[in-house]
């Protein structure tokens, strides 16, 4: 019986089963901590218990430091799309709709999602690694021993800055994206700026703008929450910091795409 047990434990099936169970437990653990810290943070935000100095610092970090990369990514995406679509549309007689198409694409999708990817890579990973390093070097333990609330001090300013700054970043990035589309259209076709901008106004609907802002708020809050939660629950040394950062990036990307899908179903289905 004992030998059979040892044999079964060494079998590939058992190892696959054990890995699956471990991953499932890890998944539920991560999801659970994100939900718990999310509600705890929400309680502080709704009762205006916010660390103002930290909030300003985190807003500067979230908004200003991420702006160059966000603007570059959104404008480059716009250039890629416009350089392929504009000449073709002009050739087919749809030149009057180039601005409309680019604007609709950026406002509805590219502005928010590309900014989200930029924010995850730049801010999400840095939040996760910062908190994970604080965890493994016992700085979070020190905060707790000094009887300072880590949720108020660490989570609230970071998540609130995500909720506030992400819409601003997305709006600025979208405007730059539309402008980049105009320059590309002018360089690749003989359409001219006036025809481009005339059709831009037809591509902007109030509903699209509202959804874009709402989406940005959800993306910003979710990225900050997941990153903080993954960093805060890190364990081990340098390896733990790396794992927490990877987990934060992967979970943030998946969560952002899920949000995007939910918005598409809710507003455009």
């Amino acid at each position: 019986m004992g030998n059979l047990k040892i044999y079964l434990k060494q079998s590939a099936t058992y190892k696959i089963y054990r890995t699956c169970v471990r991953n499932l437990v890890d998944f539920m653990d991560t999801l659970g901590s994100i939900i718990i810290y999310g509600f705890a943070t929400l309680r502080y935000i709704l009762t205006f218990r916010v660390h103002r100095k930290e909030l300003i610092e985190q807003c500067a970090r979230f908004g200003i430091s991420s702006l160059p990369i966000t603007l570059s990514i959104v404008s480059m995406t716009s250039i890629i799309v416009a350089s392929q679509v504009a000449p073709e549309m002009v050739k087919q007689g749809g030149g009057n709709f180039v601005g409309l198409l680019i604007t609709m694409l950026i406002v509805r999708e590219v502005g928010a999602i590309m900014s989200g990817f930029a924010i995850i890579s730049m801010i999400g990973s840095s939040l996760a690694s910062e908190l994970a390093t604080m965890r493994v070097t016992e700085q979070i333990d020190a905060i707790q021993v000094l009887k300072v609330d880590p949720i108020r001090y660490l989570f609230v300013p970071r998540i609130l800055s995500g909720l506030i700054m992400m819409p601003l970043v997305v709006v600025v990035a979208s405007v730059i994206g539309v402008l980049a589309g105009a320059v590309t259209t002018d360089l690749t076709t003989d359409l001219g700026y006036r025809a481009y901008f005339d059709s831009v106004w037809f591509g902007i609907y109030m509903k699209d703008l509202t959804v874009c802002i709402l989406k940005a708020v959800c993306f910003g809050g979710t990225i900050a929450l997941i990153s903080c939660s993954c960093g805060y629950t890190a364990s081990g040394g340098a390896k733990g910091v790396g794992l927490a950062t990877t987990k934060a990036v992967v979970w943030s990307i998946v969560a952002m795409v899920i949000w995007d899908m939910l918005f598409a179903i809710a507003f455009f289905f």
Partner: protein, 239 residues
């Protein structure tokens, strides 16, 4: 009575790493906890200050603050020395807005003076040596006037002269604050220079409870092995 620990139990993966450990420390006393690496010494400190949940037993502390000096100082690297020391006074709910900026500056410089450091208020932890970081963490720990101070391997990784300096400050802080102190250490000099009482842990249990002098007398086979750093004895290292 400042700290009383009764029948403390901690279980990790079905193994009792702390098994019915009891001791007490009065105000003005320093207890040294010694033992092999991984014998649960730091776990006891973490249970006393509430960082780790206990699985059994009782920890009774008298009213007041518990401060902890961490093994690697655990200074906040994004804050300068002054902000590190005044952190609890600025951020703790009941202390927030109690002190003006001027008062905070005065408290910080007084605490820094107590640990022999002056004029480093605006330096960041990365600009300080290991010994200086440790002393700043002492200053941060005592800023709320605690009546219990826990030291987790305070002299680990320091050169002998810095270790002596740190030991002197442990004694000085005890005299200044009359706090009950617990020092987790491997170093004999730290035990003899700072502690009034010593307990030794092995297999999760206390195998010696006495004074540093009694420990040095080597009547107990466990302390004899520890003091002589011998491989032969009742304690077996798990390779």
């Amino acid at each position: 009575m400042s700290i009383e620990v009764k029948n403390l139990v901690k279980i990790y993966d079905d193994k009792r790493v702390i098994d019915n450990v009891s001791f007490n420390v009065e105000n003005g006393e320093t207890l040294a906890i010694v033992g092999f690496s991984g014998s649960g010494k730091s776990t006891i400190l973490k249970m006393i200050c509430g960082l780790t949940e206990k699985d059994g037993g009782e920890i009774i502390t008298s009213k007041g603050d518990i401060a902890m000096v961490f093994q690697y100082s655990a200074l906040f690297d994004s804050l300068n020395v002054a902000d590190n020391i005044s952190f609890a006074l600025r951020e703790r709910k009941e202390l927030r807005n109690k002190y003006s900026e001027k008062e905070l500056r005065e408290i910080v410089s007084k605490k820094l003076e107590l640990v022999g450091l002056k004029g480093i208020e605006y330096k960041f932890p990365s600009e300080l040596s290991g010994g200086m970081q440790k002393r700043v963490s002492f200053a941060r720990a005592i800023v709320t006037e605690p009546n219990t101070i826990l030291y987790d391997e305070p002299t680990a990784g320091l050169d002998p002269i810095s270790s002596t300096l740190i030991e002197d400050y442990i004694v000085r802080l005890k005299e200044e604050t009359n706090a009950a102190s617990i020092v987790v250490t491997h170093q004999m000099s730290t035990i003899t220079r700072t502690a009034n009482k010593v307990i030794m842990l092995y297999g999760g249990r206390i195998v010696f409870n006495g004074t540093p002098e009694e420990m040095l007398r080597q009547d107990n086979p466990y302390t004899k092995q520890f003091v002589t750093a011998s491989l032969d004895g009742p304690m077996k290292m798990i390779a």
